[in-house]
C-alpha cells in the first residue's frame, strides 16, 4: 500500500514538473518560419473513422497529397469513438516530431482544453470537414464545406430544372436528423426555393441510406404521384429514390427531376444513365487546401478562420460528362 501511494505521489510530481520543462511556445509559426517548406511539416491527422465513400475519399486525399508534397503524415483512426480521438490528440501533443495537428472532430464541443495544450506545446491545429465550437484563437483555421451554400445551390439548380413547369412540388429526403449537414442543407434550400415558387410538399429522414431513401419514396408514391422534383441531401438517398420511381413506372430524370448532394462515383454513374439530373459537390479532397493553410500558419501568417472548400455543380446534360467522370477520384 505504501509503495502504491509513493508511486501516485511520484507520478503527480512528475506530471507537474513535465509541462514546466517544455520550451516556451513560439508566438506564431514554427522554428523554420518564415521559410518553412512542406518537407518541414510533420502532420498528425485525427480522422473520425471510416463510415462511407466520402470519408474514404477524404482519408485517401490526405495520404496521397502528403506523398506528393513530401511531408510526413501520421494517421490516426478514431473509429468514431470520441474517447479514442481525444487520446489520439494527446498523443500527437506529446509527440515531439509532430508540428501540425489536423482534426476532423467527432463532437462540436469540449475541445477547449486539448486545444489550449496543443497551443502551449507550439503545435499548429487545423480543423477540417467538421466545425467545432471553440474560441477561434485556439486553432489556425477551419476548412470545410458550406452546407448551407450547398443547399442554396441545390435550390438554384432545382429552379432551373423545373423551369416552365406548372406544379413545382418537391420532395425532400433528409439526412440524419440533427446533423449539421442535414440541418444546413435543408435551411439553405428553403432560403432560395421561394425565388421560383418551389414548394416542399413532403420531407422525411432517410438517414443517408439507399434502402431508406427507397422505402420513404415508395411509400409517398403510393399516396400521390404529383411530384416534379426530388431533393436528396446525399447521393445514396437519391439513388434509392430513383429505384422507387422506376418501380412505380415513372422515368426518373424525366418525369421527376432528381438532384442530390455529394457528387460521389455512384451519382456520376446515375447521371450517365440519365436517371439523375444534377449533383452538387461536397468536396472530400480537402488535403491540398488543409496542407497549404498549415504551411501558411507555420510561416506565421494569420489565416481567415474559415476557408470554404472549393465545390462545383455537375449536370447530366453536360456534354463532357464522360470525361469529367473519368477524371473523378471518388
Amino acid at each position: 500500500m505504501f509503495r502504491f501511494k509513493t508511486l501516485v505521489v511520484l507520478i503527480a510530481v512528475v506530471a507537474m514538473i513535465l509541462p514546466a520543462c517544455q520550451p516556451a511556445a513560439p508566438k506564431a509559426g514554427l522554428k523554420c518560419a518564415p521559410n518553412c517548406e512542406y518537407k518541414d511539416l510533420v502532420v498528425g491527422f485525427l480522422q473520425t473513422g471510416s463510415e462511407g465513400g466520402w470519408r474514404a475519399a477524404n482519408t485517401a486525399s490526405f495520404k496521397e497529397t502528403a506523398d506528393q508534397l513530401g511531408l510526413k503524415l501520421k494517421f490516426y483512426d478514431s473509429q468514431n469513438d470520441l474517447a479514442k480521438q481525444v487520446a489520439g490528440f494527446n498523443q500527437f501533443i506529446q509527440d515531439p516530431e509532430v508540428n501540425v495537428i489536423v482534426l476532423a472532430a467527432l463532437e462540436t464541443t469540449g475541445w477547449e482544453d486539448v486545444l489550449k495544450q496543443a497551443k502551449d506545446a507550439g503545435k499548429i491545429v487545423v480543423i477540417e470537414d467538421r466545425r467545432i465550437d471553440a474560441s477561434e484563437d485556439l486553432y489556425a483555421t477551419y476548412i470545410g464545406s458550406d452546407f448551407a451554400e450547398e443547399g442554396r445551390k441545390s435550390a438554384d439548380e432545382m429552379c432551373k430544372l423545373l423551369e416552365g413547369m406548372e406544379g413545382k412540388n418537391v420532395w425532400e429526403l433528409v439526412g440524419n436528423v440533427g446533423s449539421s449537414a442535414a440541418k444546413d442543407r435543408g435551411q439553405g434550400f428553403r432560403e432560395k426555393m421561394g425565388a421560383c415558387g418551389i414548394e416542399v410538399t413532403k420531407s422525411q429522414t432517410a438517414n443517408w441510406s439507399i434502402t431508406e431513401g427507397k422505402q420513404v419514396t415508395e411509400a409517398w408514391l403510393k399516396e400521390t404521384q404529383d411530384v416534379q422534383g426530388i431533393f436528396a441531401q446525399n447521393d445514396e438517398m437519391g439513388l434509392g429514390a430513383i429505384e422507387a420511381l422506376k418501380e412505380a413506372g415513372l422515368t426518373p430524370g424525366v418525369d421527376v427531376k432528381i438532384l442530390s448532394v455529394d457528387a460521389t462515383a455512384g451519382a456520376f454513374k446515375a447521371m450517365l444513365a440519365g436517371d439523375l439530373n444534377v449533383t452538387v459537390e461536397c468536396n472530400p479532397l480537402l488535403a491540398p487546401q488543409v496542407y497549404e493553410a498549415a504551411l501558411k500558419a507555420a510561416n506565421g501568417e494569420t489565416l481567415p478562420k474559415w476557408v470554404p472548400s472549393q465545390e462545383g455543380v455537375f449536370r447530366s446534360d453536360d456534354p463532357n460528362l464522360q470525361t469529367v467522370t473519368d477524371g473523378r477520384k471518388y
Binding site: V177, S203, Q204, S209
Partner: protein
Amino acid sequence: MMRSKLSGIWRKAEQSKLFFPLLALAIILLFDLITVPGFFNIQIRNGNLYGSLVDIFRNASVVMLLAIGMTLVIATGGIDLSVGAVMAIAASVAALLMNPYVLATELPPNLMKLINDPNFTYQPLWVVLLVTLLVSILCGLWNGLLVAYIRIQPMVATLILMIAGRGIAQLITNGVRIQIFYQPYAFIGQGWIVLPFSLYLVAFVYALAWLLTRRTAIGLFIESVGINFRSSYFSGIDEKKVKLLAYAFCGLCAGIAGLVASSNIKTSDAFNLGQTLELDAILAVVIGGTLMSGGRFSLLASLIGVLIIQAITTSMYAFGVPAFALQAIKSVVVIFVILLYSEQVKVLVRKLTTQKEA
C-alpha cells in the same frame, strides 16, 4: 348460449400463439385503412404486383430472414447480437468474390470495361453464394462454440462478434465500399417474379426451418433445452449440439439476409449494412410472443412480428410523420403492441368477456 359460445371461441383463439400478433397487425392495418387512402390498392405493373402491402412484405424480408434464425436461438434460451455484423461479413465476402480488383495493387488494363459490364464477375455466382453462406455458418458455429462448449453467456459471447464482426468485414474489403455490378446478383434483392424474389427466399428458409423443427424432433429438443438445459441433458438430449445447431442456423439466416441487403444497395457497405437490425429481429421475436427466457416458440408468429414493425414504419411514412418524431412514435406503438398481450391485459380482457356473459 350464443354468448358463451363466442367467449369460448375467444378463449380458444387467445390461447393460440398467433392470435395477439395478428390482432396487433390488424389494428395497425385498420389504422392505415382509415387514415391513408389507397393503402390497400394493389395493381399489376409490368406483370408484378405493386402496392403498399407488397412494399411492407418486401422491405420486411431482410429482418424476416434474421427473425427465423433468431427465434430458434432465443428458444434455446440464448440470444444472437451478432446477426447484423454477420450480414456485413457476408456482404463483404460476396462483393470481394465478384469484384476483387478494388483491392489489387496492379489493376487489369481493361478495368473500366469490366466494371461497366453487367455480366462480369470474378467468380461464378454459385461459388459466390456457397462461400458466403459457408462463411456465415462458420460465424454462427463460432457463436455456438462460445455459448455451448465454453459456456460464455450468450449475450457476451455474441457481443464479441457483433463488435469484431464489423471490423472483420471492413478488413475483408480493406475499408473500401465495393460496388457490385454483376446483374444476376442484383436479382436476389431486386428481382421480381410477380412477387419480389426475396420473399420466395423467406418462404424457402421458413419451410426449411419448419421442416427441421416440426417434422423432426429437433424442435422439441430446442424447446426443452430452452426450458431447462440441465434436465434436458439428463434426459439424454445433447444440449450442446442443439445449441450449436441453432446458432449455426442463425448464422446461415444472417448470411442470406446479408446477400439480400447488399444486392438491394449493390455495394458491400461494411460499416452500415445491417446496423441495428439485430435489435429489430429480437424485437420481432418478442412481439411474436416467444419468451426471451427460451422455451416454446412459433416461427410464424415471429414473421408476423416483423410485419408489424415494418407496417408501423411504412404507415408512418405514408402518414407523413415529421422526421424528428418518427422514432418516438414508433416506440409508442411498439409499447402498445406489447402491452396488448401482456398477462395483465389478458386478465382484464377475460374479466370483461365473462362480465358480458353474466
